[in-house]
């Protein structure tokens, strides 16, 4: 059906009201970078579409030790924020300049793999998402938001409205590996956040993109290294474990075999990057 109505609510309550009125058939769109190509090609034929672009969800603010990111904040805004370096880096490695000017942080959480590079960084940062519906709000860890390939915990009448990221993140590293260097789908994306105390890893979050039905944590790899010093044997162990536990897939870009192999390589390289950053910091300190 040709689109009958394009709804552009000016506030969150208006958006929630429209969603409630039109029900789950309403296609919710923010930057349009994923939905519009499907509509243009006639693959998606929605009757009604709601844009969140003007619903007042575009701010990025630091509140205490939390960075609050409106779901409709653009990836360009995320590049520019200086609260969390990992997020700037992830956003900078996503798509192209024009697409970053349009694509939103919230939208990135709905982008099926191998897309969704920012979501991988958010997962490593232990972000939480605020969901809002006609009956109130709830906040979920991002890790609980995903339920499967292109499925999530969002109820039919809820909108993802905000993302909370703790700014005390410890040491981080981000690597997106694609077949090209820029504007390309990931073979694998790795985002890591570590905390170390007395030379030992006290907490580790290793998030992987394009290595499962949605951004995933490499929980066994994390468990395998907590309590150890970040040295080469430990790094190898994390890499091997992550490669073993990930659930990659084959698409036009890469096979399952190659992705699994690259998970190992890039988890290792990301952890080595943490070590290098530490050495740089030490070097600068001297």
């Amino acid at each position: 059906m040709t689109v009958l109505e394009y709804l552009v609510p000016r506030s969150l309550p208006e958006a929630i009201g429209l969603l409630e009125r039109h029900g789950p058939e309403l296609l919710v769109m923010a930057g349009g970078t994923v939905a519009m190509p499907l509509i243009n090609e006639g693959i998606s034929l929605p009757e009604r579409v709601m844009s969140l672009r003007s619903a007042g969800l575009t701010s990025i603010e630091q509140r205490g030790d939390v960075l609050s990111i409106g779901a409709a904040a653009t990836l360009t805004q995320l590049v520019a924020q200086d609260g969390v370096a990992l997020l700037s880096e992830a956003a900078r490695n996503t798509a192209s300049w024009s697409i970053r000017n349009m694509g939103t942080v919230g939208g990135n959480l709905f982008t099926p793999p191998p897309g969704g590079d920012v979501a991988v960084a958010l997962l490593a940062l232990d972000a939480r998402v605020r969901l809002s519906g006609p009956h109130g709000e709830r906040v979920l860890p991002l890790a609980d938001f995903y339920t499967g390939f292109m499925t999530n915990a969002l109820a039919a009448d809820e909108l993802l409205v905000e993302i909370y990221v703790p700014t005390a993140v410890g040491e981080t590293a981000f690597i997106k590996f694609g077949r090209k260097h820029a504007n390309t789908p990931a073979v694998v994306t790795v985002a890591i956040a570590l905390q170390r105390r007395d030379g030992r890893i006290s907490a580790a979050r290793i998030a992987l993109g394009a290595a499962g039905p949605h951004p995933i944590r490499a929980a066994r790899a994390e468990a395998a290294i907590v309590g150890s010093a970040l040295e080469s044997g430990v790094i190898e162990r994390a890499a091997d474990t992550a490669a073993g536990e990930c659930r990659p897939f084959r698409d036009a870009i890469a096979t399952e075999w190659y992705r699994r192999r690259m998970v190992g390589v890039f988890v290792r390289r990301a952890l080595e990057k943490v070590v290098e950053q530490e050495q740089d910091d030490v070097g600068e300190g001297e």
Partner: protein
């Protein structure tokens, strides 16, 4: 000595430059016309199927639906683009009849008031298909019992009674028997899309005088006009094709796909009709460069001379051959490479599979031969204990040599080109190669 030239040989500015940098250059689908309709295609969702029924009833109810075209509407539905130069048989269906031979094959065309309505109606066409076994590999397609793709009963294009384009020169078997080394290789390449940034497209416009003006980005306006005239069975003088400005071709716009249907729809509706590929159509259903499998066997002497070469090549034509038979002929004529080889045998097969048809692309028939042969040359060099430069100088053809297809070489400059490349990269060449020329061997080109 030729007289001095005024403008040839000078890097004068491009005559279309200002148009391109200001965006004022008009490409075919930059035109638009009041009342213009949009044509979109219902395509086979499977690789090979019998078509039992096409149900348009729901599509017809979409607001903005104007008409649908099926094979029954196309006056001369089975054609061969190279029929213009005498290539037979007629084999491609403008719109599929009882069988779809590749995923994406056009089955019906929908004409609607807007592109959105056309896409909507396309999505609502119901196809009753019986899926058939399909074949995707060139050598599998030649085995007994393979699914037959064509409508005449075998999976190769026939060259004057042969299932392949043949070249026979000298006696390869005798030469293999006395060669010091035999070097064999098999080379595989996957299909490639021309991927011009402007997709294939046209607009057909009914004119006051009963003619049709077709704005098109074809690479060959008369090729397109003449094939359209045949397919629609209307005199060529009722067609006026306007083009010449093409947003990238690379061979991808030599087929005649969009013009016949757009013109037919314009005839049927008496309104301008636009038919342009979407990007995914350009990527997934437009002709590709063929996939190739090339077997090369060379007989080589201890000193590096290649005395025999046998090449067996298979190009994956897909479901229809389009320009590919011609590519195989060009390939066969060049499968010995730029080398003087006294004994050559070449069999080049154009093979039908249930794949998107392949057709022309930049380097037609040659690009993948060059890949196979030049990798093979390095293998030969290694076997003969020579470096990659030496093996090529030793075997380079000269003016006056006879190519396997019996033509006397006239414009050989491989040796001079290699000398220039060596100088460019600082590669030292032995004196004998520095002194070598492409002049006739009888004229001291030793």
């Amino acid at each position: 000595m030729s007289p001095a030239l005024n403008v040839v040989g000078r890097s004068v500015p491009r005559s279309d430059g200002i148009g391109h940098v200001t965006g004022r250059t008009q490409f075919a689908t930059d035109h638009s016309f009041p009342g213009m309709l949009h044509l979109k295609i219902v395509r086979s969702p499977v690789h090979h199927a019998r078509i039992r029924r096409i149900d348009l009833s729901e599509a017809e109810r979409v607001p903005g639906f104007v008409c649908a075209l099926t094979h029954a509407d196309v006056p001369h539905n089975v054609y061969t683009i190279l029929g213009l130069i005498g290539v037979e048989p007629e084999e491609e269906f403008v719109l599929a009849e009882d069988r779809a031979r590749y995923k994406g094959e056009p089955i019906a065309a929908i004409v609607a008031e807007s592109e959105e309505a056309a896409l909507d109606a396309v999505a609502r066409v119901k196809l009753d298909l019986e899926e058939l076994p399909a074949v995707f590999d060139v050598e599998e397609a030649l085995k007994p019992g393979a699914p037959i793709v064509t409508h005449w009963g075998n999976n190769t294009f026939m060259y004057e009674g042969h299932p392949c384009r043949r070249v026979r020169f000298g006696d390869v078997e005798e030469a293999f028997a006395r060669a010091d080394h035999i070097v064999e290789g098999v080379y595989n390449t996957k299909p490639i899309e021309q991927a011009p940034i402007e997709t294939t497209g046209c607009i057909a416009v009914p004119e006051a005088n009963g003619r049709y003006t077709v704005y098109t980005n074809t690479q060959a306006v008369y090729f397109s006009l003449d094939n359209t005239s045949i397919i629609l069975q209307i005199p060529g003088n009722r067609l006026h094709f306007v083009g010449g400005t093409v947003g990238g071709g690379f061979g991808g716009k030599v087929d005649v796909i969009v013009e016949p249907l757009a013109t037919l729809a314009a005839m049927k509706t008496n309104r301008p009709v636009k038919y342009a590929y979407s990007r995914s159509e350009e990527m997934q259903v437009s002709s590709t460069r063929s996939a190739w499998r090339i077997y090369v066997k060379d007989g080589v002497m201890r000193d590096g001379r290649i005395i025999a070469r046998k090449v067996t090549s298979y190009a994956d034509s897909g479901a229809y051959s389009r320009q590919t038979p011609y590519a195989l002929t060009k390939h066969a004529a060049n499968a010995s490479g730029p080398y003087a080889i006294p004994n050559v045998s070449i069999d080049a097969y154009c093979v039908y599979t249930n794949r998107v048809p392949s057709s022309a692309m930049r380097g037609f028939g040659i690009t993948m031969a060059s890949f196979a042969l030049e990798v093979q040359m390095d293998k030969i060099a290694e076997v003969a204990g020579l470096d990659p430069w030496s093996i090529r100088f030793i075997n380079a053809y000269r003016d006056g040599d006879i190519k396997p297809h019996r033509k006397v070489v006239e414009d050989a400059t491989l040796i001079e080109t290699m000398q220039a490349a060596a100088a460019l990269v600082g590669q030292d060449l032995p004196a004998e190669f520095r002194a070598m020329t492409s002049a006739r061997r009888s004229e001291g080109g030793a």
